[in-house]
Each structure stands twice: as C-alpha cells, then as structure tokens.
C-alpha cells in the first residue's frame, strides 16, 4: 500500500466504526420484533416499517418535512441580506462574522431554553406587551408550531449565513454594475444576476439548514409541547419511554431516506453540497 493510502486509514476507521457499523446495527434492529417487555428479538419482520404507514405517522413525517422547509426558506430569506451586508462591509467583515458565529460559543440547550423565557406567558415579550397595555391577556407564544419555527430559524441562521457569505464575498461586483448598466432595475439585477450567480452558496445553505431541521427533536421538545411532535421526537420516544427500538430504528431509517431523496432531488452538482 502506498503512503498516501495510509493517510486515509484514520478516516476510514472512523467512518466504518462510527457510521457504517451503527447504521448496520440500526438496520438490523429495525428488522427485529419488539419483545413483550421492551427489548427486541427474532423473528425478522418488516412489521415496524408497515406500522409507519399509519396516517398518524404520515402526519408527523409531513409536519416535520413542512417545518424543515419553512425553516430553510426563512433562513435563506433572512440570511441572504445579512450575508450581503457583511460581504459589502469592508474591513469590518471579520467582526460581523464573529458576531454571527457567537451563538455557537454557548450551549445549544441553553440558547433554546432562553426562548422559553422569552416566549412564555410571563416571559419578556408578553410582559412588555402587557405593561404597554397593548394586550389584555398573555399571547400564546410558546408550545406551538410558531415557537418551534422561531427556535429552529434562530439556531440554523448562522449555518445559512456562512455559505451564502462565502459566495457573495467572491461575487464580482462589476456583474452587478453591468446589469444596472444594461438597464436592469435593482430588483431585476437581484433576481437575474445575483441570485443565479450565488446559487451554489444558496443550495449549500439550504442543505445545511434543511437536514438538521428535519431531524430536530430538542427544539420541538422544549418549545413545541405535545401538539407539535416531529419525527425526531417520535424516534426519541421509541428509544426511551416507548421502549420500542425496532420501530424507532425503522422510523430513523425512513427519515434518512427522506433526507437523501431530498438531497438527490435538489443537488444538481455534487460539489454544491459542501
């Protein structure tokens, strides 16, 4: 074996030991039968997969998909102007990027909990609105779809800003001037030049936001309450309270297929993904 191949060995070991082997175990579990007291045993069956086709789970999957799409769209819409602003702000770019990265320095759990304190009935928003006399009753801001969406967008936004920034930073500004020069209004310049030219960054941003958002369970657990169970919560439940590992394994594999299908559909070029 040449020296170069030896360099691959650590990565190969990690991938095999920490990705393929666990995936194999998950696949094996998904094909087993749930034992009467939890646990799992033979015979092999596809029962766990069949159970997933219950409309109840279909609804959960659809809801997860939908909230991931909403999160992605919102992150792109909010992230693009921010990335544009940073890429055009000269020597202060480094500082702004640090600010975008700043939330990563704190625990994800703590940041999500912070939203509980902001959104709950006695939280900051409701207190201020009550104090101003704009509302009589606290608004139901927490434990609903909107709260989960806010939490997801908040956590994913930096992941969208960074790849968009990196393409905008390389964007040749004379293209923008050329478009204006050829009679395009600012809006036309944006839709016909800036967006197409920065499409690779937008695609990368979409993947980086969409994939984790689809599998989220902590955000929906903390901010969503019982009414917004997502597929991540479903999987988590099967492995903890429900003690139905085969079904949990099947659900997580189905989730993975959905993610990969989404990637294959949107990724036109492999290099776009990362």
């Amino acid at each position: 074996m040449s020296l170069r191949r030896w360099f691959l060995l650590p990565a190969w070991l990690v991938t095999t030991g920490l990705f393929w082997a666990p995936m194999g175990i998950v696949l094996a579990y998904s094909l087993l039968t749930r034992g009467p007291y939890g646990g799992q045993s033979l015979p092999l069956s596809l029962e766990s997969y069949q159970r997933f086709f219950d409309p109840l789970y279909g609804e959960i999957l659809l809801r997860s998909f939908w909230i991931a799409v909403e999160t992605t769209v919102l992150c792109l819409v909010l992230g693009f102007p921010l990335a544009w602003f940073i890429s055009r702000s000269g020597p202060r770019r480094g500082m702004y990027l640090q600010l975008v990265m700043l939330p990563f320095w704190t625990s994800f759990l703590v940041r999500t909990y912070a939203w509980v304190f902001l959104l709950r009935d006695t939280g900051l928003f409701n207190s201020v609105l009550l104090a101003l006399g704009w509302i009589e009753q606290p608004l139901p801001l927490l434990y609903n779809h909107g709260a989960v969406l806010v939490g997801l967008v908040y956590c994913s936004l930096p992941l969208a800003v960074l790849p968009i920034y990196s393409t905008l930073e390389r964007l040749d500004y004379s293209l923008v001037e050329a478009a204006a020069d050829l009679g395009a209004t600012p809006w036309e310049t944006f839709t016909r030049v800036v967006i197409p030219v920065s499409a690779p960054g937008l695609r990368t941003a979409a993947f980086l936001v969409y994939v984790p958002a689809l599998g989220t369970y902590l955000t929906s657990d903390l901010l969503g309450g019982g009414s917004t169970i997502l597929i991540g919560n479903l999987v988590q439940n099967q492995f903890t309270t429900a003690r139905d590992w085969p079904f949990g394994a099947a659900a997580s594999l189905i989730l993975m297929v959905v993610v990969l299908a989404g990637l294959a559909l949107v990724a036109r070029h492999r290099e776009d993904i990362l």
């Binding site: 040749d172 004379s174 293209l175 050329a178 204006a180 020069d181 050829l182 009679g183 395009a184 209004t185």
Partner: protein, 320 residues
C-alpha cells in the same frame, strides 16, 4: 456636429480625497475619445460618473442634451465595457447579449438583433458558449456585443484591452477602431496606455490629479503639449535648458550640422540597439542627459564619441 456628451464643472469628492476636480469635457457624436493619465488621475472615476456608478459631488453631465448626473445607471442611454468584461457567468453569449435587449424588444426582432450584433463582432456560431469557454479576445468581443446591442448614445470602455495578452492587443486595437468607424457610435475610452490612446482616438483628454491638462487630437497633444506633464506622459522627452525636445526631433552629427539649425556639443555615453532604431544616450556640457533616436542608416556612435546634437527651433517645446 453636435456634442452628444458634455461634462461641465464635474467634481467628485471621496471621504479621503477629491478624485475629480472641476472637469469640463465636450464630445461630439461619433467621436472616439480617449481619457488618459496615470493611475489615480481620476479618469476612471470620470468614466464611472458618466456610466452612473458614481454620482458627481458637483457639476452637470449632459447626455444628448439632458442632465443625467443624478440618474441611476439603468436610466441612462450609455453602456460600459468593463475592464474584466463582467460577462454574466451563468448565461451563454446569447443570454448575455439578450440581457439588455430583452427589456426593449419583442421575441422576433430580438433574435435578429442578437444575430446582427454577433455578426458585427465576429462571434456568430458561438452563441451557445458559456463565457468561460471563450478565449480572452472572444470574451472582449462578447462584452462589446452586449453593450453595442443597446445602441447606446455613448459606449464607455474601461481599459478594454488591458486584460488581453500583448500580442493580441495590437490586433484587437485595429479591430476596435474599425468597429467604431462602422457602427458610428461615440466611444469614450479610459486607458493608461499612451500608444493605445494615440492610435485609437480621434481626440485625447489628458488628466492629472483630477484635472484636465489638455484636450486635443493625437497630433496636437504629441506635437504641441500644453503642459510639461502632458509632454512627459505622452512620449519621451529630453529636457534642455528651458525647453523640451522629443528624442526623434533631436538629431546627432559627427561633424558639421545643417545650416540654420541650433546645436550643442555632446559626449556619447551609451548606445542601445532597439531593432527598428537606435537610442543614443549623450551628455551635454551642462550635465543634462539626452536620448537621441537614430535610424540605423545614420551610422554608429560609440561611448566616448564627441558629437554635436542639433535640432530645429520649431521643435523646441516651451512650457510655463
């Protein structure tokens, strides 16, 4: 001919300095005009103000009689060929040319207009290429086509030849001039290359430190420079006591000089063979060093030769 473009008292202040200082410029329709000067002289800023990428701090820019100084680029009937061409990388050659046209015309004349303008710049058959599949010269012509398609009142060119390799540059220069004659559109070109300006332009404006030093035909600028700066910037110059002399107007003789000519003794320091001519470096009694351009038929001069330099009085260039 009426002036298609007139700049009156145009200035541009940037936070740190004044880039353009009270520039006046009139360009008649159909003229090929070159703005030249060293880097930082304000020529590019001037061009960008005509294009609409910069708004003048003061002054008016009359385009076809209308003040366009405060208008954004998309509301002006000018078009720019950028230094790096700024072709849209996600569009084909056709897509690039159609970009500006699409807003103006319908589908059928559009296809014809694209065909015509690509014919003009000899890019027929390359309609479906992407910009990265074109050579440097083709990219430049695509950028020209994209701008010419709009039939602008003035075509602005920002160092249009500087991105080409030197061998190609001379050929493209001739093509550019022929193209301008054929389409009859007013060209305003920015360049730092004096040779480019002299060969291409009908008239030249020399700028220095944000101000116009002189405007005139290439002959006027070269033969009758208004300032020492212009004389130095366009072509080489020998400085003798109180006046300047072009190297090719400075003559050399081993013995007698022609009747009526002015002359001085000199010592040959060096002789450089340049192929088409020879540059002889000579020192005057006062210590001034002078370059003399000599044809190879005029004989050889070696370092240490004692010679006489002579010239005609009308070739002396005097400045304030």
């Amino acid at each position: 001919m009426a002036d298609v473009l007139t700049l009156a008292g145009v200035s541009k202040d940037f936070p740190t300095h004044r880039a353009v200082d009270c520039v006046d410029l009139s360009i008649p329709a159909g003229e090929f005009h070159a703005l030249v000067g060293p880097s930082g002289c304000g020529k590019t800023t001037t061009l960008r103000m005509v294009a609409g990428f910069e708004i003048p701090t003061t002054g008016t820019i009359l385009l076809e009689g209308k003040n366009v100084a405060p208008l954004p680029p998309h509301q002006r009937n000018v078009s720019t060929v950028f230094q790096n061409y700024a072709l849209f990388p996600h569009l084909t050659v056709r897509g690039n040319v159609e970009f500006g046209l699409r807003r103006k015309r319908e589908a059928a004349p559009l296809a014809q207009a694209v065909r015509e303008v690509l014919e003009l710049v000899r890019l027929r058959g390359k309609e479906d290429r992407m910009p990265h599949q074109l050579s440097g010269g083709e990219r430049q012509r695509a950028a020209l086509a994209r701008s010419l398609a709009l039939a602008p009142a003035v075509l602005l060119l920002d160092e249009p030849l500087s991105a080409l390799d030197p061998n190609l540059r001379k050929q493209v220069r001739l093509e550019l001039k022929a193209l301008q004659r054929r389409v009859g559109i007013t060209f305003l070109m920015v360049t730092h290359d004096q040779e480019e300006a002299l060969t291409l332009a009908d008239r030249i404006t020399v700028m220095n430190q944000g101000q116009v030093e002189q405007t005139g035909t290439p002959r006027e600028i070269y033969l009758r420079p208004a300032t020492a700066f212009v004389a130095r910037f366009l072509g080489a110059m020998n400085w003798l006591e109180g006046f300047g002399l072009r190297p090719e107007a400075t003559r050399i003789a081993a013995g007698r000089v022609p009747e009526g000519a002015r002359s001085m003794p000199a010592l040959v320091l060096d002789s450089t063979f340049l192929g088409n001519c020879i540059h002889v470096l000579a020192e005057m009694p006062g210590g001034e060093k002078v370059t003399v351009e000599v044809s190879r038929f005029e004989g050889m001069y070696k370092p240490g030769d004692r010679v006489r330099l002579w010239w005609n009085e009308e070739d002396e260039l005097r400045f304030k």
